[in-house]
């Protein structure tokens, strides 16, 4: 072995040398580099997760917005329907009211007309009675019992009104 160069003190020095190199490189090189590689990996992973989270949140928000929009649309539709119904109902009510008022007005007008007519007839009858009496007084030219006279005339008039009512 000595011919090949085996020399135990050198071997020992190489062993110590290598062990020291291992220790120093571990502290100065591998540890900090592996730490920063790890940190970078974590950072990238974190960023990716964050991006994924933001994407998910954005999707959820979009979904929510869509849902809210749909809901608003539905609510709007309901409101429109309600408004339409309300309008229909109001229109019907108003129409009904107008109809009732018109009928009331018509009825009142009719009764007014009837009353006016009755009054007119009564007045005409009165005038006619007076006129008839005056005429009868003048024709007969004699004074009769006034009450008996009136009774006759009333009778005549009643008969005439019967005739007028039928007519």
């Amino acid at each position: 072995m000595a011919e090949l160069g085996f020399h135990w003190p050198s071997l020992l020095v190489y062993l110590v040398n290598f062990t020291l190199l291992l220790a120093i490189l571990y502290v100065v090189g591998y540890k900090p580099i592996l730490r920063i590689l790890n940190q970078r990996t974590e950072r990238i992973r974190g960023s990716l997760e964050e991006a994924e989270q933001i994407r998910a949140e954005s999707e959820a928000r979009q979904e929510e917005m869509k849902r809210e929009l749909d809901q608003a649309r539905q609510e709007g539709q309901v409101l429109i329907t309600q408004a339409r119904e309300l309008a229909d109902r109001y229109r019907d009510e108003e129409r009904q009211k107008a109809k009732v008022e018109a009928e009331a007005f018509l009825t009142r007008a009719r009764s007014d007309i009837e009353r006016e007519r009755d009054n007119a007839i009564e007045e005409v009858r009165q005038q006619f009675a007076d006129l008839a009496m005056t005429a009868a007084e003048r024709v007969v030219e004699r004074s009769l019992d006034k009450d008996a006279h009136r009774e006759v005339i009333e009778k005549v008039l009643q008969e005439s009104s019967k005739i007028g009512g039928n007519g």
Binding site: M1, A2, E3, L4, G5, F6, H7, W8, P9, S10, L11, V13, Y14, L15, N17, F18, T19, L20, L21, L22, I24, L25, Y26, V28, G29, Y30, P32, I33, L34, I36, L37, Q39, R40, R43
Partner: protein
């Protein structure tokens, strides 16, 4: 640059290289003989050469190194390699930032690639345990091998009577003690983790005498004998691994060194260039083999063998 200029540059460079090759061929040992060649006849020393004059005299007289610490050219080279690695990592990690730049980027790329390799072999859980050792072996062997390819290694030395008597530097891989030290450290590393993870049950892989208690028949006895033999073979292979590790690296590095010396001696210019390329590759491959095999062995060693239950 215009295409024609580039083309003419290539032609001129090619002619220059060709001329250098011819000059090298004519001045090399092939044409002028081993004694009149441009370069001195390479002296192959398997033993590391002391740097100090007194130690060199001792070696000259006794034909062996003194039985104490001797500063040899290979040891000095290994210290330079160690210093380069420490300085490189020191400056690379001095001001680290999450966005890497320059030297930090360079070392991170190397460490990252090595770490991924360790994870692919040993798995995520064991990678942190084994990585520092794997990386140090790889980098140490690689830097030592590549340092030896620098022209300065052949140029620096002590000259006596007009000839290079002792080189100041020599690749540490060509010193048997360096591969042996790494092989021993690798052996201890593998056994340490195996015992730490599997406990004393790890030795059950080598000493399989438990089967003797369960022998019921002749065939069972035969089976147990084979089992015991295989266990002892495993033990032997575990120990022989130190030798194979040592001589694989030592042999490759020494052969590379000799190859470069001889090619430069035969044809001083150009001819040895492809061999330098080859040695760059060999250095990388040897570093990967040494570190990779250690990693594979420790990964295998921490797996409980059949019949054991270590969870």
């Amino acid at each position: 640059m215009p295409k024609s200029t580039a083309k003419s540059l290539v032609v001129v460079a090619g002619l220059g290289i060709g001329l250098l090759f011819v000059v090298g061929f004519l001045s090399g040992a092939i044409v002028r003989g081993t004694d009149n060649a441009l370069l001195d006849k390479p002296e192959i020393h398997l033993q590391p050469v002391p740097i100090l004059e007194s130690d060199a005299k001792f070696v000259e007289e006794e034909h062996k190194l003194p039985n104490r610490f001797v500063l040899t050219n290979t040891l000095l080279s290994s210290w330079i390699a160690t210093a380069i690695l420490i300085v490189l990592f020191f400056f690379a990690t001095r001001r680290m930032s999450l966005v890497p730049r320059g030297l930090q980027n360079f070392t991170e790329a190397i460490i990252g690639a090595m770490y991924d390799f360790v994870v692919s072999v040993a798995g995520d859980r064991n990678a942190r345990r084994f990585f520092p050792f794997f990386a140090t072996i790889f980098l140490f062997v690689l830097v030592n091998a590549w340092l030896g390819l620098l022209p300065i290694y052949q140029a620096l030395g002590f000259i006596k009577d007009g000839a290079m008597e002792r080189h100041l530097l020599r690749p540490a891989g060509t010193d048997l003690n360096m591969p042996l030290a790494l092989a021993l450290v690798s052996f201890v590393f593998v056994e340490f983790w195996a015992i730490r993870i599997l406990g004393l049950g790890y030795f059950g892989k080598f000493f399989r005498f438990g089967g003797l208690l369960r022998v019921r028949s002749m065939s069972g006895l035969f089976q147990t004998a084979i089992d015991i033999f295989v266990g002892l073979l495993e033990l032997l292979s575990e120990l022989v691994r130190v030798v194979s590790f040592t001589f694989r690296l030592f042999g490759n590095m020494t052969a590379g060194e000799i190859l470069l010396l001889v090619t430069a001696f035969l044809v001083p210019f150009v001819f040895s260039l492809p061999f330098y390329g080859l040695e760059l590759l060999v250095g990388f491959i040897q570093a990967l083999i040494f570190a990779g095999l250690t990693l594979v062995f420790v990964t295998i060693a921490i797996v409980p063998h059949e019949g054991e239950d270590h969870g």
